[in-house]
């Protein structure tokens, strides 16, 4: 079954055709990687999924529901969570609070007026957040203010914020950029484990081929705003079009 369907998406920024008739379908379950050289339009495409950008034409459907023209919080409430390329976290809040917020949004919906409810009575939400933080290896820093974390830890925190919502679809924009080799390997293990055990479908944009080939079940290659190949990892490496895009574009 297809969880995400992208049909004929175009996006133009002035004279630049950032996305050119993009077609893409993501199967339910597993990890789908989108790779491509710099400027291929990967982040632009992801932005079209979460309501940050609206395509000029084409359609994006998630579980049969169009994602175009609805607000970012509605897309999230429908079951699509996103992890950003540069860590977007609540820097003034603690690590635990950072993860409790998406967990509360998942349980309570987009708005709940509960000014007299005690946060410390939210035992289940709190435990859920702690569990995810343990999965991702941040259980030591629950009460740390997020601003004071290392960059790699901030990225992992953001992943925890996405995972705690039990999304149907998790979008990850270069989740390991800026991480040490050890953290990268750890992150691969965590994502693999979560994909296997919780059945969360992931779409991952990545430069690091080690990460891509360790995680992806399917790969789409984007070049100059268009999808030039979509296949299982084993066939992508030998695809002449892909080699052309990566090597040919380099000189």
């Amino acid at each position: 079954m297809k969880i995400l369907e992208v049909r004929g998406v175009n996006k133009r920024f002035g004279g630049l055709q950032a996305l050119n008739d993009v077609n893409l379908s993501v199967e339910d379950g597993g990890v789908h990687a989108i790779i491509g050289p710099n400027g291929a339009g990967k982040s632009t495409l992801l932005n079209c999924f979460v309501g940050r950008l609206t395509p000029d034409s084409g359609s994006v459907t998630f579980n049969g529901q169009s994602l175009l023209g609805i607000k970012p919080h509605e897309i999230n409430q429908a079951g699509v969570s996103r992890v950003f390329q540069t860590p977007e976290i609540f820097t003034d809040l603690t690590v635990l609070e950072n993860v409790m917020i998406p967990a509360l949004a998942h349980r309570d919906g987009a708005f709940r007026l509960n000014p007299m409810r005690r946060l410390r009575d939210e035992g289940i939400i709190r435990q859920k957040a702690i569990d995810v933080l343990e999965d991702i290896g941040l259980e030591e820093s629950l009460d740390m203010v997020a601003a004071s974390m290392y960059r790699g830890d901030k990225r992992r925190l953001e992943m925890a914020m996405g995972l705690v919502q039990d999304p149907k679809l998790l979008l990850l924009d270069e989740p390991t950029a800026g991480m040490s080799r050890a953290d990268t390997n750890n992150t691969i293990d965590v994502l693999r484990h979560i994909s296997d055990t919780r059945g969360i479908t992931m779409v991952i944009i990545e430069h690091d081929m080690h990460v891509v080939f360790s995680l992806a079940d399917r790969i789409s290659v984007l070049a100059q705003g268009g999808v030039i190949a979509e296949d299982v990892p084993g066939n992508i490496k030998g695809n002449p079009k892909v080699q052309e895009a990566y090597l040919g574009g380099a000189h």
């Binding site: 919080h73 609540f90 809040l93 987009a110 000014p115």
Partner: protein, 382 residues
């Protein structure tokens, strides 16, 4: 959230109750124990606590909150005119009317954030000030201000109930105890304690909001509103709720002010009054629990002190100086006192913002930390 912070909150709340109840005694040595000033402390304390729910938590800086205080006052005086001198209906209407106004103004202003939001609120408040001053004269009595006349209907006013604001006969301006100690006189006044009850409730509600999931969302809005949208939260209703709650606090403050002194004038809605509550909150420490109340007390106290000083007082203070020199000193000090006390306030504000980021509470916290570190150092040496 942890059990430690639970006991901390209880301790903080008990400390607050104690300070408020013991206010008249504690403030007597600095000459602040008289009804008018004590009532101002409580009223502006409520105003600032409410303002802090919006500004301290969400970071939205409203420059028009005095408008809600003003409509609160007008609503209360109208209740006195139409019903009776009983303060309860007056307060209810103050809060309701201020709430309605803040829904409308908040709904429109919150379509923008940052400086544009501030400008929108300022524009609304100035508009309301001008309307109250001119067009709405039948409701506001224009520049004379709204007051109670003998021929007002007062349908529910009992034949033998007092002809001044009261709570079922308990007169607000009564001073029921004037103890003297160490040569200072403390005045225990009904009005102050009436306001104090609301101040304590206002503080308690603000504390609960701060520690609620709702309050956490507001803090998240201040930090990264955009991220919150991608987290599945619709931020607009949250900011509007915070705006309306703080508007109702302002209405309550305005209503209480009218209960202490049954008058309402348009000047209460002027932008300087809106600016004052911003100063109070920042001066005391925005986002902290005690800061806004402390800032309100600080400003109202110095207003009372400095605005009372005139040239005569100055001459008597500097009379020990040689002839001529005292005139010179008085001429220099003159612009900073009396009607010019805002100049002093401005200077104080600058000093605090530059040297104490985090306001008075921020400064006290740092002092406390220094002190504790000093203690543990000396303990370590021993």
């Amino acid at each position: 959230m942890t059990s430690a912070s639970k006991t901390n909150d209880t301790a903080l709340f008990l400390f607050f109750i104690f300070m408020v109840i013991a206010g008249p005694i504690l403030l007597a040595p600095i000459g602040a124990s008289y009804p008018d000033l004590l009532q101002k402390f409580a009223i502006f304390g409520i105003f600032a606590i409410g303002f802090n729910i919006l500004f301290g938590l969400t970071g939205y800086l409203s420059f028009g909150h005095a408008a809600f205080l003003g409509v609160g006052s007008y609503a209360a005086v109208w209740m006195f005119k139409l019903l009776s001198y009983n303060v309860l209906p007056a307060l209810v209407l103050s809060v309701v009317v201020a709430g309605l106004f803040s829904v409308v103004i908040g709904y429109i202003s919150l379509r923008r954030s940052g400086i544009y939001f501030s400008i929108l609120t300022l524009a609304f408040a100035q508009m309301m000030f001008n309307i109250a001053y001119s067009v709405a004269t039948p409701i506001t009595n224009g520049e004379t201000g709204l007051q109670i006349y003998n021929d007002d209907p007062q349908w529910l006013q009992g034949a033998d109930s007092p002809l001044t604001t009261n709570l079922f006969g308990l007169k607000m301006n009564d001073v029921f105890w004037r103890p003297e100690y160490l040569g200072f006189e403390a005045q225990f006044n009904v009005g102050y304690y009436f306001c104090a009850i609301f101040l304590i409730i206002a503080f308690y509600v603000a504390l609960r909001i701060n520690r609620s999931p709702f309050g956490m969302m507001l803090r998240a809005i201040k930090t990264n509103q955009n991220r919150l949208n991608y987290t599945g939260i619709s931020t607009r209703p949250y900011t509007l709720a915070a705006f309306v709650i703080s508007g109702m606090y302002a209405g309550l403050a305005g209503g209480l002010w009218a209960c202490m002194d049954p008058l309402a004038g348009a000047e209460r809605m002027q932008w300087t009054a809106s600016g004052e509550v911003v100063l109070m909150t920042i001066l005391g420490g925005a986002g902290t629990m005690l800061g806004p109340v402390l800032g309100a007390g600080f400003i109202k106290y110095f207003e009372a002190i400095f605005s009372k000083i005139n040239d005569q007082v100055l001459h008597s203070v500097f009379s020990f100086m040689p002839e001529g020199a005292d005139n010179f000193i008085v001429a220099i000090v003159h612009p900073f006192v009396g009607k010019g006390w805002h100049l002093t306030l401005g200077l104080l504000f600058m000093v605090i913002v530059i040297f104490l980021p985090g306001g008075l509470i921020g400064g006290l916290t740092r002092l406390g930390r220094l002190f504790r570190r000093g203690q543990s150092d000396s303990a370590g040496r021993r």
